[in-house]
């Protein structure tokens, strides 16, 4: 187990270096530098004098060829220094941690909601397999699964915000947020978060409940279910205690794979709702050619993706005694 873990970590490290190297090369070859883009945004007429440009380039390491600059970046990352954002004049680590909160509000509540709803729906549909109501629910879920989230976001905005006026159109906080009491603040964020959370949730809800149903279907055909029924156990006991508990393994692996999306946020949804999260930051930093921020985010996403895969494998081995991780 231990040597397997070390081997996976080593391979993961190589993969990480490759990814960051490719992305670094790509963004450094995009036309426009953070300085030129920044200047054009502030005032197109105002030109920085060449000496200042040189000085800034030197300060941010833009004067070196990109492979050299990449080496420098790696060296700094090993000392846990992720650099300073060029366009925002802030350390990248702080910038990312500021944006993490809003994204987590959306993703965690959506994940919780998904599990709370998907498990009962999945159990319900496997209990009523093949009946009319199950087929209706199944079809509806399938439609939802295929419904693009950005289209749903626009529909919600038109209906809930524009027509009925129940919810704010976008943003995370109202104007008078700082003068509100604690409960008012929570309520304010709740109202703003509702539409994005719905957009995040409905697709994965459909996916998870179909996933649970499919796994239940497989388990319900096993011999021990027949034994449990023959013993005279009630249908709910059989379904929940005997069948559902045995579908935990694939569910657990799925959690590992959702890890990157938990912190990654969605660029499109966050942009539609002007939500100040990671997805927005990513998009803005690409437009601003803010190299250190892009690299910091890329590093984070890649680590999360790789860690998620590793976690899924380890969970799998822990949850299922039949799976043994071989040492070799």
């Amino acid at each position: 187990m231990f040597s397997y873990f070390v081997r996976r970590l080593f391979i993961g490290l190589i993969t990480l270096v490759l990814i960051t190297f490719i992305i670094f090369g790509l963004i450094r070859n995009m036309p426009g530098t953070p300085i030129s883009v920044n200047m054009a945004m502030i005032d197109p007429g105002k030109e920085l004098n060449p000496a200042d440009v040189e000085r800034m380039k030197k300060a941010y390491g833009l004067d070196k060829p990109w492979p050299e600059a990449y080496g420098l970046w790696v060296k700094n990352v090993f000392q846990f220094d992720f650099g300073r954002s060029i366009s925002r004049k802030q350390p990248v680590a702080r910038l990312i941690s500021e944006r993490m909160g809003p994204t987590l509000i959306l993703s965690l509540s959506s994940l919780l909601l998904t599990y709370l709803l998907a498990i009962p729906i999945g159990l319900y549909s496997s209990a009523r397999q093949g009946r009319l109501d199950e087929r209706t629910v199944g079809t509806a879920l399938y439609m939802l699964y295929s419904f693009p989230s950005f289209v749903a976001a626009l529909f919600l905005q038109i209906y809930l915000a524009n027509k009925l006026g129940w919810l704010p159109l976008y943003g995370m906080k109202s104007d008078g947020y700082s003068s509100m009491t604690g409960t008012q603040q929570a309520w304010d964020i709740f109202k703003h978060a509702l539409m994005p959370v719905i957009c995040y949730t409905y697709g994965s809800l459909a996916y998870y409940s179909r996933f649970i149903r499919a796994n239940m279907h497989e388990v319900l055909m096993q011999d021990y279910i027949r034994t449990a029924r023959a013993k005279g156990l009630g249908p709910i006991d059989v379904l929940v205690k005997h069948a559902f508990r045995n579908t935990f393994i694939p569910l657990v692996t799925l959690i590992g794979l959702t890890l990157p999306s938990l912190l990654g946020g969605s660029v499109i949804i966050e942009r539609i709702f002007s939500w100040p999260g990671m997805g927005q930051l990513y998009f803005e930093s690409i437009l601003e050619r803010d190299y250190p921020t892009i690299m910091g985010l890329t590093l984070m996403f890649s680590i999360l993706t790789l860690a998620g895969q590793l976690l899924a494998d380890i969970f799998y081995a822990m949850a299922d005694p039949r799976v043994k991780i071989a040492d070799h």
Binding site: Y142, P148, F150, F155, I268, L306
Partner: protein, 369 residues
């Protein structure tokens, strides 16, 4: 159903003494046909293909066929490529006003017009078509008898834009997943067939590509290119979207390389190249088609999402995502969101249904279910 098809095969085998056992493809198709929703979805995609091919004949302002000064022309072909419209119309200063110009410049001319006289690129003006009022502009163009799906802020008909945008939606799916399919199958085949260090290296490659966010790659490459076109986008979506296909192909090849028919081929001295492409590949193609179909659905989503963010096909090209983006700027114009939104949804749904149908048809475990 089941019995009937069995009878048919029995009858067939009586006629021929030696009958080839049905290959994997035929079998998969037989089972796929039995799934109503999947077949319906397949018909819908065929319908979209029809719309895409005949878009200029469905909505346009150029005649499909016309006789002008004694010659027959097909001006509507200009919608596919600018150059396919005969230069005579440019020389004679038609200025894209065909009905009026044809009549004025040659009274003996005749023409067959598209079903709907609306243009996907420009606003139709007053009296361009006898008695037809011009399109409403700004946010007043709600759906009407003239403009079935309304008009956008510039007064361009939404129905015409959607009909012509079908081409992009379909092409994006097919071209990008065609590229992804080729890369994915080759990488997966090599990794699965050879194993050992080849598998090790290729698996790392798959992991690296999986971790690179598609969005950053597309934005970076669009920024690097001087004039990005829809084709570049398809290529990028294809070059990043092959990992799922490769992993499945790898698993299939790993499984099949141990099978008896491969061993038989090896013992009779068939070359490795031939074993990979003529023996294993045809047998693993049906399961590999599953991620490809799902991939088409997600390619359509990526394209419309990018157009929606404003990074799609360059502006004059009509695309469903671009329409959504226009609608987002003015939420009062619900028709700019509803119709393209539903079009994207239906296309994605159809591909997902086909993918699921294929999955169940090609999975031997579900065969008897």
């Amino acid at each position: 159903m089941q019995e009937q098809s069995e009878d048919n095969t029995n009858a067939a085998s009586e006629e021929k003494v030696v009958k080839k056992s049905p290959n994997f493809w035929v079998e998969t198709w037989q089972r796929f046909k039995g799934r109503k929703m999947a077949m319906l979805a397949l018909f819908y995609i065929a319908f979209l293909g029809f719309v895409a091919v005949f878009a200029p004949a469905i909505a346009g302002t150029k005649p499909i066929i016309c006789e002008y000064k004694g010659h027959i022309y097909f001006p509507a072909m200009g919608y596919f490529r600018r150059e396919w419209e005969n230069p005579i119309f440019l020389k004679d200063r038609f200025r894209n006003r065909f009905p009026e110009s044809l009549k004025n410049k040659d009274p003996n001319s005749w023409a067959i017009w598209p079903l709907v006289y609306q243009d996907p690129y420009r606003r139709v003006y007053d009296d361009e078509w006898k008695g037809l009022p011009g399109n409403p502009t700004q946010d007043t163009g709600s759906p009407s008898l003239r403009n079935w799906f309304g008009t956008d802020q510039r007064g361009v008909d939404v129905f015409a834009q959607m009909v012509h945008g079908t081409t992009i939606a379909l092409l994006v799916g097919f071209v990008s997943m065609g590229i992804a399919g080729v890369i994915g199958i080759v990488v997966g085949a090599l990794a699965g067939f050879y194993g050992k260090w080849v598998d090790m290296v290729l698996s790392r490659l798959i992991e690296v590509v999986m971790c690179i966010p598609t969005l950053i790659l597309i934005l970076a490459i669009i920024a690097i290119l001087d004039s990005p076109t829809i084709w570049h986008m398809m290529a990028i979506i294809g070059c990043t979207g092959w990992t799922g296909i490769a992993r499945l192909a790898r698993a299939e090849f790993m499984k099949l390389r141990e099978s008896d028919f491969v061993l038989a081929a090896k013992t009779t001295g068939v070359g490795q190249f031939r074993i990979i492409f003529r023996y294993i590949l045809p047998n693993s193609l049906a399961p590999v088609l599953v991620p490809i179909t799902f991939g088409i659905a997600s390619a359509i989503l990526i394209e419309s999402g990018l157009s929606f963010l404003g990074f799609g096909a360059p502006p004059p090209n009509p695309s469903w995502g671009t329409l959504l983006n226009l609608g987002r700027q003015n939420l009062q114009m619900w028709w700019l969101i509803f119709f393209p939104g539903m079009a994207i949804f239906l296309a994605v749904l159809a591909y997902n249904l086909i993918g699921e149908g294929l999955q169940e048809a090609s999975d031997p475990r579900l065969r008897d279910a």
